[in-house]
């Protein structure tokens, strides 16, 4: 299971970087948000995927570590905010120029 989830994180990073290298602004933004999803999956892995019960009512030793879930929740909120900002920035660049290419002029 852990190997499969690690692979998933790797695929997310690879896809994210591939999209980030595209010229289209929207693809770059999606790529960046995929990268932050990869980070969340890695945090989930860090806790160990033991499939234990939730922390409330669990006896010692059988529960799942609740901390990574709290970390991921925080990271999701942050990446949501940043993605929203990026989309707004992209929209503004669209209003400025019409085409959304990000070349180095």
């Amino acid at each position: 299971m852990a190997a499969l989830v690690s692979l998933l994180a790797g695929v997310l990073v690879a896809t994210g970087i591939y999209l980030l290298l595209a010229r289209s602004l929207l693809r770059q933004i999606i790529g960046l948000s995929l990268l932050s999803h990869a980070a969340n999956v890695v945090i989930l892995l860090a806790a160990g995927l033991r499939g234990g019960v939730p922390v409330i009512g669990a006896s010692k030793g059988t529960m799942t570590d609740p901390l990574p879930q709290a970390l991921i929740l925080t990271a999701i909120v942050i990446s949501f905010g940043v993605t929203a900002f990026l989309l707004a920035l992209g929209y503004r660049m669209h209003l400025f120029g019409g085409e959304e290419d990000r070349d180095g002029s």
Partner: protein
């Protein structure tokens, strides 16, 4: 009662600017806005001065948020390093805001963004938890994205997009590092990590350490991760650029100092960091020599100067780390002073290009003096603060038996002086029809120039404070015992 209030003091530099930022979003009038913004910076400054005075004896003040004992809750810790950094951040925020107000570029969004940025920076300096540091970074970065893109042209928006993207990638590395370290050590509280890292499995810890090095390295703009900086820092107007150029990279440098002394001590000169330091110094200053615009030259110097700070960290001795901390504090003052002096010229003449400016010294004697003082201090000429900062580092380098890095640092000092002379000769001397910069734009930079002179004349005071701060990082037990309540 007073004792309880004093205990809560380390939280105030985070809480006050946050509250001010929220109030500023409620559309107050211009007068209220300016008063509120400046008052919040002043308040943060006053609290940090009190903190430095309280902690002078070597005390460490932790707060356990919500009463959850460490390592289970979120810990806010004020030690000497954190307090000094909050002090300098509040000072630069104040001076930069005065400049922004003086140049009339302050709408309510700028004021609110400014306070959120200060809150995030102070938070990063005072947190005692690795994940909380990430959150502080993001608060700071979102505010910086906003200030960078506010009122930009199309081309600037593109440059800003690059800045946001590179910081998001750095954040991803940060989270990877946090996850690896958590999986190995089972904690993210910095004091608790100090105790648990030696027993943790070595491989994930090392991988996590390199992830964090990459993340902080991107934010601190160390070699070879500095490429984004000159583009981003050429965008905003003078006051904002001074705040950015002074503080933002230094938050990355601070994190490197915090994590790579306390959590991952190297126990001796670290070859990887020494190479990074040498590369950062050298390539930064060479980049600066190739530029033809005041702001771009100064931006490349930010990179080059970060190399000196990393040199202090890489030497890993108490005097080396103390020299690095001294250098950070000195550099922030001087660099913000230079950017504000450059900003005053840009605001008056509408350009910062060397070939379009000239003769500014004829009508702006005070501004020229301010610029010269800051430039000489940056290059490390006595009696200004930069001389003592470099002296400490060079002594630490020789004591650690690293003559190579010392040689690089001296050569880079000379090149720094050369490129400062280039700005001075092109902008302040020569032909041209210069306008006179209004006094209100010169005063902020003059204040910072006065500080570098004062620090230079009383170097002992700051160097003993920096030494106390370095002591907490290199000996570690005071910090750990204070946080873990032993």
């Amino acid at each position: 009662m007073v004792a309880r209030l004093l205990e809560a003091l380390p939280a105030l530099p985070i809480v006050v600017p946050h509250l001010a930022a929220i109030l500023l979003l409620l559309r107050p009038g211009r007068r209220v806005r300016r008063t509120l913004g400046l008052a919040s910076c002043l308040g943060s400054l006053a609290v940090s001065v009190t903190l430095v005075l309280l902690l002078r004896g070597g005390r460490v003040m932790p707060i356990q948020a919500g009463g959850w004992a460490a390592p289970f809750g979120i810990t806010i810790v004020a030690d000497m390093l954190g307090a000094l950094m909050v002090l300098i951040a509040s000072l630069i925020a104040l001076v930069g805001l005065v400049f922004t107000v003086a140049s009339g570029r302050d709408d309510r969004f700028v004021h609110a963004g400014w306070q959120f940025l200060l809150a995030g920076i102070n938070w990063a300096f005072l947190t005692g938890d690795l994940f909380n540091l990430y959150v502080a970074y993001e608060v700071m970065l979102i505010a910086s994205y906003f200030l960078l893109t506010h009122g930009t042209t199309r081309h600037q928006a593109r440059e800003a997009f690059g800045y946001v993207a590179i910081n998001l990638i750095a954040s991803m590395f940060f989270l990877f590092g946090v996850a690896l370290i958590y999986s190995a050590a089972g904690t993210l509280n910095i004091a608790h990590l100090v105790e648990r890292i030696p027993q943790a499995p070595a491989l994930p810890v090392r991988a996590g350490a390199y992830m964090l090095l990459t993340a902080f390295g991107i934010k601190a703009a160390i070699f070879p991760l500095y490429f984004w900086l000159p583009h981003a820092y050429a965008i905003p107007p003078g006051g904002t650029a001074a705040f950015f150029g002074g503080m933002l990279t230094k938050v990355g440098v601070y994190s490197l100092f915090r994590v790579f002394t306390l959590v991952f001590p190297s126990g001796g000169p670290d070859p990887l960091l020494l190479w990074c330091a040498a590369g950062t110094m050298l390539f930064g200053v060479l980049g600066a020599l190739a530029q033809e615009e005041v702001r771009r030259i100064l931006s490349f110097h930010i990179i080059s100067q970060v190399g000196y700070m990393i040199m202090g960290l890489a030497l890993a001795s108490q005097i080396g780390v103390a020299g690095g901390i001294f250098y950070i504090l000195h550099h922030i003052v001087v660099k913000a002073g230079l950017i504000l002096a450059g900003g005053a010229i840009e605001e008056t003449h509408g350009t910062g290009r060397l070939d379009r400016l000239g003769g500014v010294a004829r009508t702006n004697g005070v501004l020229a003096t301010v610029f010269v003082i800051c430039a000489l201090s940056l290059a490390g000429v006595p009696p200004f603060s930069g001389f003592f900062a470099k002296l400490l580092l060079i002594r630490a380098g020789l004591e650690a038996g690293q003559p190579g890095i010392v040689a690089v640092s001296i050569v880079v000092s000379i090149l720094t002086l050369m490129s400062m002379l280039k700005i001075y000769a092109a902008v302040f001397w020569g032909p041209g029809e210069p306008k006179r910069a209004p006094a209100r734009l010169v005063i902020p930079a003059a204040l910072l120039a006065a500080i570098t002179v004062a620090v230079g004349l009383r170097a002992q005071v700051l160097s003993s404070l920096a030494s106390t701060a370095a002591g907490h990082l290199t000996t570690r037990t005071t910090y750990v015992n204070a946080v873990m309540k032993r």
